[in-house]
């Protein structure tokens, strides 16, 4: 029974199926609402699913310059890492694997998909991919600084004068004291986190790495067929994971305790957050240059999160 539950956790909820389905839904909604914001009709909401299935039906070409094994393994590794990361994340109150990974671990687990993308792109041997991976890496460097500041601020707020990186404790604290978003000191951090999400997911204006009009989708340039499908799925899943992480950090107070209801609220939260920080930002901005992106994150966003850290330290 125990094993069945674990298998269910991995494959259905909150594992592969749930993450994949919600991710694809978020991606579809993102496209639909973006289209509406641009006064278009837009694709159907299940368009990402169509894209995914279609790519499965396409031939996969492994180029001559590519290292075959790494080229094909990279998307799968990224996918698995994302699914496992999702397993460690709480769905509001519900936690599949209690106490298996803390905040810092999550921060690092989240870099694995990026590294998979980078290594995969790098292994394809394409010069455009070379440029793309460098930009992806600079993007990672950019958002990691604010992200760690945010996490430390949250940890200080929850833990007080003892070390606390545990997501369970953060959830428990929020259940007891209300969502952390309500805290004055953490508001800048929440804004910073909202700005981190699009960079982590890689949407406009922070999609320098996959700028399809300049460097032809960067690391993905040589990918076709099923591996490309998996990479697209990874991007969709990242939307789910980042928005869930946001709600775990700042909106944990909304948990009801009933798993099904929690999952529903979680999905709604994810949708709301996606629409706020990915779709709206995408609709009203144009792509940044990579050096401006770096500057933006290390000044504005990092400033916000550092401000939050200092405020928390001062006891607000």
């Amino acid at each position: 029974m125990e094993y069945l539950k674990i298998i269910f956790n991995i494959l259905v909820f909150p594992g592969c199926l749930f993450v994949g389905a919600v991710g694809l839904l978020l991606a579809g909604l993102d496209r639909k609402v973006l289209a509406r914001m641009q006064k278009r009709v837009g694709p159907p909401v299940i368009q990402p699913l169509y894209d995914f299935l279609k790519l499965l039906g396409k031939e996969t070409i492994v180029p001559k310059a590519a290292n075959r094994k790494v080229f094909l393994a990279a998307p799968v590794v990224g996918f698995s890492a994302l699914v496992v990361t999702a397993l460690f994340l709480p769905v509001l109150g519900y936690r599949a694997f209690e106490g298996s990974a803390d905040l810092i671990v999550l921060l690092y687990l989240l870099t694995i998909p990026a590294v998979a993308l980078i290594v995969g792109g790098s292994s394809s041997g394409n010069p455009y991919a070379g440029i793309g991976i460098s930009r992806e890496m600079v993007t990672v460097m950019s958002y990691e600084l604010p992200l760690i500041c945010i996490m430390l601020a949250v940890a200080r707020k929850v833990g007080g004068s003892s070390l606390c990186f545990s997501l369970s404790e953060i959830a428990a604290y929020q259940q007891a004291n209300g969502s952390l978003l309500g805290s004055v000191a953490l508001m800048p951090a929440a804004v910073a986190m909202l700005l981190v999400i699009p960079a982590e997911v890689g949407t406009q204006p922070f999609d320098v790495a996959e700028a399809e009009t300049e460097i032809l989708e960067g690391p993905l340039i040589e990918y076709s067929g099923a591996p490309l499908a998996v990479f697209k799925l990874n991007t969709a899943m990242k939307m789910y994971i980042m928005t869930t992480l946001f709600s775990a950090l700042f909106l944990g107070g909304l948990a009801t305790g009933v798993t099904a209801l929690d999952a529903l609220i979680q999905v709604l939260l994810c949708i709301a957050l996606t629409l706020i920080c990915i779709t709206t930002v995408h609709a009203v901005t144009a792509r940044l240059k990579v050096e401006h992106l770096f500057k933006f994150y290390w000044t504005v966003v990092a400033g916000l999160s550092a401000l939050s850290l200092v405020l928390v330290w001062l006891g607000f």
């Binding site: 496209r31 289209a35 641009q38 006064k39 278009r40 009709v41 837009g42 694709p43 159907p44 368009q47 699913l49 169509y50 894209d51 995914f52 299935l53 279609k54 499965l56 039906g57 396409k58 031939e59 996969t60 070409i61 399809e212 009009t213 460097i215 032809l216 989708e217 993905l220 340039i221 040589e222 990918y223 076709s224 067929g225 490309l228």
Partner: protein, 148 residues
């Protein structure tokens, strides 16, 4: 069932890769016009892809100058199967006013099989939408043929 779903998706999510083989930009602009709110081909899942490796439909415009012929053929080779080739406007089919020029290799049919030829000079966006839509049906048929 999966096969059927894949074949259906093939029709609903065609990604375009656009090759300009010396076009005057008229057709290119009209293709871009199809992405604008008024025509919005994204309704049918169309999307401009950056790389031929992602493409389902290769859209060719321009009279295939001798400089671009080699590039065009190389690009077409790199597209994963199944895929369609759609020509935009008169130029790729005949060379249009450039017909007979020393630098134009015009009828594209000499090098590759064209699935849908859209005529016009330039093409009207509605014609592009309709033509591309026809191409998606061909794509689906091609995918179904692959299954057999």
């Amino acid at each position: 069932m999966i096969k059927k779903a894949i074949a259906n998706s093939m029709q609903r999510s065609p990604w375009l890769y656009h090759v300009n083989t010396g076009s005057c930009n008229g057709c290119d602009i009209e293709l871009v016009a199809c992405l604008t709110p008024r025509y919005d081909v994204e309704r049918f899942g169309f999307k401009l892809a950056g790389s031929p490796r992602h493409a389902d439909i290769v859209v060719v415009s321009g009279p295939v100058t001798s400089q671009s012929k080699e590039r065009l053929l190389r690009t077409l080779e790199q597209v994963p199967k199944p895929y369609c080739i759609v020509t935009l406007g008169s130029c790729p089919q005949s060379g249009n006013v450039f017909k007979g020029s020393y630098s134009v290799e015009a009828p594209i049919e000499k090098f590759c099989h064209v699935d849908v030829a859209i005529a016009g000079c330039t093409v009207k966006p509605e014609a592009v939408v309709a033509g591309l839509y026809r191409a998606t049906e061909i794509l689906k048929a091609k995918r179904e043929a692959m299954n057999k």
